[in-house]
């Protein structure tokens, strides 16, 4: 499964929404429940799914799903 689909699966689990579709341009404004608390929960879940670890600065600096996917892919090598 490619990174995007795996990310989408994590989003669906974290936000408890089986119909959630994410795109590179999706931001926190597009998902009502994506607030500061759920943002951290999402990143911790992504860490678990991909076996990676985000730096503190990366937690705050992500602007949209595309940037998030880029960081995940870079960390996976």
């Amino acid at each position: 499964m490619d990174v995007h689909l795996r990310l989408q699966q994590v989003f669906r689990e974290v936000f408890d929404d089986d119909e959630l579709e994410i795109h590179d341009h999706t931001t926190a404004k597009d998902i009502p429940e994506w607030d500061s608390l759920m943002h951290v929960s999402l990143l911790v879940a992504i860490e678990g799914e991909f076996g990676i670890r985000f730096a503190s600065a990366e937690v705050s600096g992500l602007k949209n799903v595309g940037e998030l996917r880029g960081v995940v892919e870079t960390k996976m090598g």
Binding site: S36, L37, M38, V40, S41, A55, S56, A57, S60
Partner: protein
Amino acid sequence: MLQLDQLGFWALVVLVAVLVRAFGLTGRWRAAVYLLAAAALFSGAPLLGLLLLGVCAYGYVALRVLAGPWGIAVHTLVMSAAFVLSQHPDVIPGPQPFLRLFPLVGLPYVYLRVLHLIADVKNGVQPVPDALEYFTYVLPFHQVIAGPVERFPAFRAALHAPLAPLDLDTFLLAVARIVNGFLKKAVLAEILRDGVGFGFDGHGLRLLAEIDLHALFIYLDFSGYMDIVIGAGVLIGWKPPENFDWPYGSRNLIEFWTRWHITLGEFIRDYLFNPLNLYLQRGPLRGRVLTAGVVSYFVAMAWCGLWHRANLPFLLWGALHGAGIAAVKLWEAGLKKALGKQRMKQYRASRWAGAVATFVTFQFVAVSFLFAFETPARALEILWNLF
């Protein structure tokens, strides 16, 4: 020190605007002009200027020594100690201690700017800045009094961007922003203060109206200041970030803190809430998202209160907001469980529910201000008189 309502301040703004725009200054030359303007601003209060310069100089040394998390911890403690001592100089023993001369003006924002740089440099996010750019950034002559909390990369990008001559449209928009700010801060807010008095001596609905008008007064005063600073910033080619977005229209407290004092909310989120929440969710509170959130919100907002003023009323005010935000999360979780996903979506989309939630949020914010500006006992007495 020159204030926004003094002609000297505006003469400085015009002088800087003409200098940087007429010569199209960018980079170090423009930074030098801004820094000279800061020196001119503080020339009327040289001791304050020197003390702030001392804090900033410590910050610059701190950027170069002690790397990693220990560096952040040590320097945060040192800066925080200076911050608290400046507000409570009486704890320093001896007659007329040096710190007793320390006026508070400007330090809270200098403190955040220095801490932001220390955290980013120690975390390897950015290199140690050039000294001239550093001192210009931490002592911004037009926004040192009450912010906002601009980040260094945004400042640096603006500093190095070419500066076009001031066209008529931009000039008029900037002047309109400044006039709007004075109208809010010096006219409407003052009419409210003089007319209502804010003694909170009434009862029932009349008292509630006074509490609500007090919240409106605080908004007009602070956002009016921001309008003035942003307008001046446009003229001199250093526009600070926006700090307000109709905050009293927020549907809940979490949204409120993304629309009220936005740059402070973002600072707290990035440098306190996120790292603490990440630590808790990775370790001691793994799998307990709500608990980690409640703890993190509470700590972050208590700190927010203390940053405004290191005393019990502001700590209570911050803690109230921490508790309020935690309550929002618990309410949402409970509601989702009770309503199910589909009806929860309908609830979120409902205008009526939104209107009620906005009203409740505003009342909470308005009442919370009582705890910041009155003693806890007096705030409770006022609350009691509401019923």
